[in-house]
Structures are given as C-alpha cells and as structure tokens.
Amino acid sequence: MGKLFAVLVIVIALVSVSFFVRHTWWMPTDISTTGAAIDHQLDETMIETGLLFLAGQLVLGLFVWQASNKNPARKIKIFPGGSKPVVIAAIFVVGIEILALTFIGSKAWAAVNIAPAAADSLHIDVQAEQFAFYFRYAGPDGQFGGLHPDKIDDGNGNYFGLDPANDVAARDDVVVGSLVVPVNHPILLTLHSKDVGHSFYVPVLRIQQDFVPGLEIPVHFTATQTGKFEIVCTQLCGLGHYNMKAYLQVMSEPDYEQWLKSQEGQ
C-alpha cells in the first residue's frame, strides 16, 4: 500500500514536471520591450519552485516507501536533529529565495507599472464597455475631445460621448474597434470604463490591467514585431464576457501612417 503510494506520487511528480520542461503548453512569444524581464522572472521561479516541488514529492515518496517496511523488529526513527534543522533550513532557503525573487522581480514590475511612459509616446484612449473595446486616436490636431457620458450613443457610433458640435478638438478624433499601433514606437494607453469592471489582457505583450469605473489608468508598452494579436477581457463583466475581445495590429511605421490617414478621411 505504502509502496504503491510512493510510486504513484513520484510518477505524478515526474509526469507533471515533464510537461513544464517540454513547454508543451506555454506562453506565446513575447513581442514587447518589457516582457523579456517578466519571462525571465517566470523562468527563474519555474526552475526554483520546480526543484522544490520535485524534491518535496520525491522525498515524501521515499519516506513513505521506507515507512511501509513491515519488519516487526524495526524501531521508529526520529528525524535527525528534530524539528530545529527543518525550521532553520526552511527559513534560510525560502527566505533567500524570497529576497532574490523580490529584488529581481521588482525591476520587471517597475518597468511595466512604475516607470513613466516615454515622452514621445503615441497616446491612445481606450474605453471598455459590455462587451467591446473602443480605441480613440487624437487625429491631426493632436488633441482629444472632451468626454460627456450623457452623449454616449452606441447606436450612432458615439461610444466615447464626444460632442463634435461644440468641441473643436473632438471633431477629428478617430474611433475604431481595433488597436492599431506602429512597431517599435512607445504607446501610452489610458483605460476607462463606461459601465462595469473589465480588463485589458494581451498575452503577447505580457500586459494585463483592469479597467476600473471611476478611474483612468495609464498603460504603456512598445511592440517589437508586426502582426495581428488578440486582446481579451479578463475581468468578469457579464454574460458576454467570454466574447469580449479586440485585435491588436502592429504595423510598420509607413503602414500605420497610411492606415491612420485612411481613418481620418472617414
């Protein structure tokens, strides 16, 4: 019985780890300037905790195997040194790991969430609502029009509540359903919600940030590869949550300029 448990726990541990090691299912390739540090942090943590996981399960299996020895003459044995070495080892090993992970990880976090966006960032305004994302570009004047919640009218495509009749800055604002950005150019998003909480999750950018009703939240990133990628909502927002998504299109600078012109013309 004990031997069966020991074998089973070891097999489970090895099979579980093998899928992590082989990256059978893994993160998509990172296309951001800040993602490498996050990936590195995750890899570090994976190796350290993977070793602890294996050690824990294997030692458990080994001890259970030994403890199933039915020899009646066998006497019980107390762990060498009692609990003291266990406590001290745990404090030191885990303590050092915590310090190391925190010092390195803080930098990855700061690069995404504390460092300010670059001064030459392209500013894009993002509004989330049940169950869509809308993106707003300032247009040729470089100015965003003011927002008026009372003027929001999805039926007429006025998702942001702009007032072009009275607001000059709003007249050339470009509002689209996809996030189109130039490659290798810093981007600054401002997230705000029309109704309930949502979240902005782009796995390839290693970015996830909630939309919080009542707050405007800045997010910045630089995409390093062109292509079309998915943006999904990760904050439960109602019945259509699973289907709330948009595309991120990363274009070369000339393609982006051309795209923007074509939108401004509409």
């Binding site: 044995k77 745990a90 992970l101 700061a110 990760t234 019945l239």
Partner: protein, 591 residues
C-alpha cells in the same frame, strides 16, 4: 488551566428527551457538529454537480445536458446552457464551496464536535449561541438556494461579487437583479453565524480546558480550530459590513461602490461618489484570511491524525502551532496580492508581495514537519492515513504555485488565468477536503460508534488522488498558455487549440466526482451496518479516545477528566503498547 468546578457546573445542562431538542434544535455540540457536517455534505454534492455541468459545457458546449432544461428552461433551453447560466453555476459553485463546505466542514463541523471533547469540556462555552450559529448558517444556505429559483436567474458575478457589476442591479444584465441581492443577504447572514461560532470557539478554548490541559498539551487540531476562530472573528467582521453596504447600494440607492457617470443598458446610473476598489479591499481583507480559515483546520487535522498512524510523534508540534499562528497573523497583511492588476497604486505591490512570500516560510515549515514525521515511521496504511499523505502531496503542489502568483511581475501575465484556478483549488479546496476526508475516516467511529469500510475508503482515496491531479495539474498548463478563467466558451483564436485539454479535464472531473459516491455510500452504509467501534480503535492518545464511541451527552459520563500528558506520545514503551493516553497518569519512559 481552568478547572473550577463552578465553571463546569455553569455549563452543565440535562440531556434532552424530546426528539426536537435532541436532534433538531439541540444544544449539544456533538449534534450541532453533525448538523454542520450534514449541511456541508449536502452543499458539497450540490457544488460538485454544478462543477460537472460547467465542465461538460466547457468540453462540449453544444451538447444538450439531459434534464438541465427542467432545472432552468430559461438558463438552458433544450439542455444547452446560456453564457449567463454558465456564470450563474460558476458563481454558485464558488460560493457554496467556499462558504458552506470549506468553512463549514473542517472548522464548524469537526471543530464543534471535537474541540470540547479534546480539551475535556462538557460542551461549548455558549451552547445556545452554538445552536443559533448552525441555524443561522442553515438560513443563509436556504437564502442562497432560493437564488436558483428567482425569475431573473441566479447571480453571475462570481463568488467575489466585484462591484459595480454586483452593485448596480438588473441594468448590468441577467442574473444581477434579485438573485444577486439574495446572494449578498445570504453571505451577510452567514457572517453573523460565523462570528457567533468564532466567539464560541475562542471562549471554549480559553475557558473550558480541563485540569492539566495546558495550551501546550492541546492537540494540533484544537490549536488549528482556535487559531481559525480568531481569524474568522476578524475576517467576517469585515465582510459583514461590506455585504450590508452592497445590499444598501442595491436596494437603498446608496453609492458606496458605484462611481458617477456609469451607463448601463443605455441609462446613466443615478449614483455618484462611490469607489469600486473599496469593495475589492474590503472583500479581500476578508477573502485572503478566508483561505486560511479553509485550510488551517485541515492542516491541524492532518497534524493530529498523521502521528496516530505513523506511530511516532509529530515532528515539532510546537513549531507547527507557531507556524499556524504566524500564518494567521500574516494573513491580514496580504490581501492586496489579489489586486496587483486592479489599478491600485503600483507602489503598493511590493508591500503586499513580500508578506505573501513570507507566508510561504511557515507553510514550508509545516509541510517539512509533516514529511519529517513520516521519516522512520511504522506506517499503518488506512483510508485516514492515506488521505493525510495525499494531503501533503497536494498541499505541496498547491502551495508551490503561490510563489508565482505572489510576485506582481508574474501575476501580470497569470492573473485571472486557469493557473490561478489550479492554485486555489489545489491549496484551498483539494487540500482542505483531503483533511476533511482524513478526519471523516478517522473520527467516524467516534461520532457514530461504527467503523467505516476500509476497502471502500482506500478505493475512494486512490481514485480521488489520481483524479484531482488529472483535473487540476493541466490547469497550470492552460494558465501558462494564457487561458482566461470565467469564460463560458473559448472562442478566441489562441484558446481554441486548448479545448482538447479542457475535454481531458472534464472527463477526469466526471470520473473523480463519481468516485465521491463511493464515499457517500460508505458513510451511509457504515452508519447503519458498519462493525461496532471500540472506545479507541486507532490507539490514539487524545481525549476523544478516552470516552465511549459515541460519547455520552456530557462527553465523559460525569467523570472529571485530568490530563497528564501531551497529545504527541507515540512510539514510547508503555506496558506493551507504543503510546500513552493524555489521561494516563503513568510516567513516560523513552523507548
């Protein structure tokens, strides 16, 4: 130590004779403990059925589930559930499991039954409060169940009920009208019951210990219930007002959690000035300690049971108790790790991350102490001991993923993915339930005077142990691939290739769930047909094994129990046995 006969006399009450006083509105902590267990058992099978329905839908979304349209014609026309009905089932699954199973079974059920006996008391300190705790909990359960049957559908905002989705009412969509209000009322009622229960546990532990039962001689399980009661008292005291504020936002037009300018269903909402993050802070100030409310009693139960079957003392009982206390203390400093991507100040991330990581130290020590207790043991393999060993394994698996989620930089990617689902199910749900299973196989003879069937118990263990790994280990891989949780279907390009993994998990969940009926059958069959249990069938030391099975109404048949030893005296030479009872006055000689 408190052994004033006055204190004992104050808690004596005569055995009831009427059926209602004996079995329904009973003041006897043992009956109340069994009532809590019965409620948790009912709740866990409801919660499991909900997870089956969810898993079938995730694996085969178009497949009509037989009879589901009978349960809700609107939610599942022709047996195929709507997205909102999926979210309802998910919300109810989480709520039922966290509150009515994981809080009730290891703490309220076993704690009620065994805390007074383990410390040599005749009952809880406040038997009437105790009865009230259970019936208030039961009322909360009925209110929660009523949410299934309201016209707008059960709530859909998850067990975390984030505002403003949970606060603005029916304008936010189906399932957010009366069902959501009932949810908030039920949880508020549950908080009242939990506060009463926590006070009772604390007073009982501090005031009713018998002569010789110093704190140092309390079994690990009693310690865990005591620490959990202290955590409960502080945690539910925050959730209760939070729920009241949520109810007020919903029914009285206040704006605690709703800011100005929100437009839902094309209507500008008549609220202003509220804070969305306030709900998250209040909820998680309760919610993280709640994790320890669910797991600490099971840790205590395993620390109590493992030595009985290892036939040697728990390695470092004092260190284990210290770790429980440290964990309880730290659990109040970490709530913000649920909110790294919530939009709170990014400077606070490390403030919450570091204490979270520090909690892994006492948890690692506890795990190592349990593993070290197996070292050199003469293990008796029973269903109870197998579940203790299984507990260690799943607790390692669940705890280790906490290292990832505690780090804000990694949480950016893994937050709200199946990695989180895997983490909390392993460490909070599966580990806690393994403790409950171990406790059930171990204490059933004491509670009902009959032994459970060991063959069925072991079969239940093997199927469950393999099953939970097949269900929850692949969820880590899904999370790494960016699979978002709380989706009723996977329609995104990058998620579609992951659907086969979901099918595998669904099959594993159905089989593992089916194995739980072996447990249910064993419980019912053994209750009536199991072999009669002796007073101390496992050769254990603690006080519950120094009285009849089941114990008499006053627990020890009028005897004043005096305690001479700690609970950890296994592997010692004692008149041909290898253990010394806590009540045994014999001197202990080292083996």
């Amino acid at each position: 130590m408190h052994d004033t006969s006055a204190a004992h006399a104050a808690h004596q009450h005569a055995a009831p004779t009427s059926f209602i006083r004996k079995h329904i509105f009973s003041l006897d902590h043992k009956v109340i403990g069994k009532q809590y267990y019965g409620l948790a058992l009912l709740a866990v099978f409801i919660g499991m059925a909900l997870s089956w329905l969810m898993r079938i839908h995730l694996g085969w979304p178009a497949w009509p589930i037989p009879l589901l349209d009978k349960l809700s014609a609107v939610g599942a026309p022709q047996g195929v559930m709507t997205p909102e009905y999926y979210l309802s089932l998910m919300t109810m699954h989480g709520t039922i499991m966290v509150f009515f199973v994981l809080t009730n079974a290891p703490f309220a059920a076993f704690g009620n039954y065994f805390l007074p006996i383990q410390i040599g008391a005749e009952d809880m300190a406040f038997p009437r409060f105790n009865m009230m705790s259970f019936w208030v909990t039961f009322t909360a359960f009925l209110v929660m169940m009523a949410a299934f049957f309201v016209s707008d559908g059960p709530p859909i905002s998850g067990w975390t009920a984030y505002a403003p989705l949970s606060a603005v009412g029916g304008d936010a969509g189906p399932g957010l009208a009366l069902g959501q209000t009932l949810w908030a009322i039920s949880i508020a009622i549950f908080c009242i019951a939990s506060l009463l229960g926590a006070l009772n546990f604390i007073a009982t532990t501090l005031d009713l210990r018998t002569k010789g039962m110093s704190l140092a001689r309390m079994p690990a399980s009693s310690w865990a219930w005591f620490v959990t009661a202290v955590i409960s008292l502080l945690a539910f005291a925050v959730l209760l007002p939070a729920c009241i504020l949520l109810i007020l936002d919903r029914v009285a037009g206040t704006s605690f959690f709703i800011p100005a300018g929100l437009i839902l269903s094309d209507k500008l909402q008549p609220h202003s000035g509220g804070s969305v993050l306030l709900w998250q802070h209040l909820f998680w100030f309760f919610g993280h300690p709640e994790v320890y409310i669910a797991i600490l009693p099971s840790i205590g139960i395993v620390c109590h049971i493992l030595p009985v079957f290892a036939r040697k003392p728990l390695l470092g009982l004092r260190a284990a108790v210290g770790c429980m206390i440290a964990t309880g203390f730290l659990s109040y400093m970490v709530w913000g790790h649920h909110m790294f991507v919530s939009g709170m100040s990014p400077f606070s991330a490390n403030l919450f991350s570091v204490p979270t990581l520090i909690i892994t130290i006492p948890m690692t020590i506890l795990t190592l102490l349990l593993i070290g207790s197996v070292y050199g043991a003469k293990m008796r393999f029973t269903a109870a001991s197998l579940f203790c060993l299984g507990f260690i394994s799943v607790f390692i698996s669940g705890g280790i993923s906490g290292f990832f989620l505690a780090q804000p930089s990694i949480d950016i990617y893994l937050h709200a993915t199946y990695f989180v689902v895997a983490h909390f199910h392993f460490v909070m749900a599966v580990a806690s339930l393994f403790g409950v299973f171990a406790g059930t196989y171990f204490w059933f003879p004491k509670m009902f005077g009959r032994m459970m069937n060991e063959t069925l118990g072991k079969l239940h263990f093997w199927l469950t142990f393999i099953g939970v790994y097949c269900i929850f280990m692949p969820m880590h891989y899904l999370g790494l691939a960016g699979n978002v949780r709380r989706y009723s279907a996977f329609v995104d390009d990058y998620l579609i290739p992951l659907i086969p993994v979901h099918k595998f998990i669904t099959i594993a969940a159905l089989l593992t769930g089916a194995a739980q009926f072996i447990f249910l059958f064993n419980l019912i069959w053994s209750r009536f047909k199991g072999p009669i249990a002796s007073e101390n069938p496992w050769e254990a030391t603690s006080l519950e094994w120094s009285t009849t099975s089941p114990p008499p109404f006053d627990n020890f048949g009028g005897r004043h129990i005096v305690v001479y030893n700690g609970p950890n005296e296994y592997g010692v030479e004692n008149n041909g046995t290898d253990f010394v009872m806590q009540v045994s006055p014999e001197k202990i000689s080292a083996s």
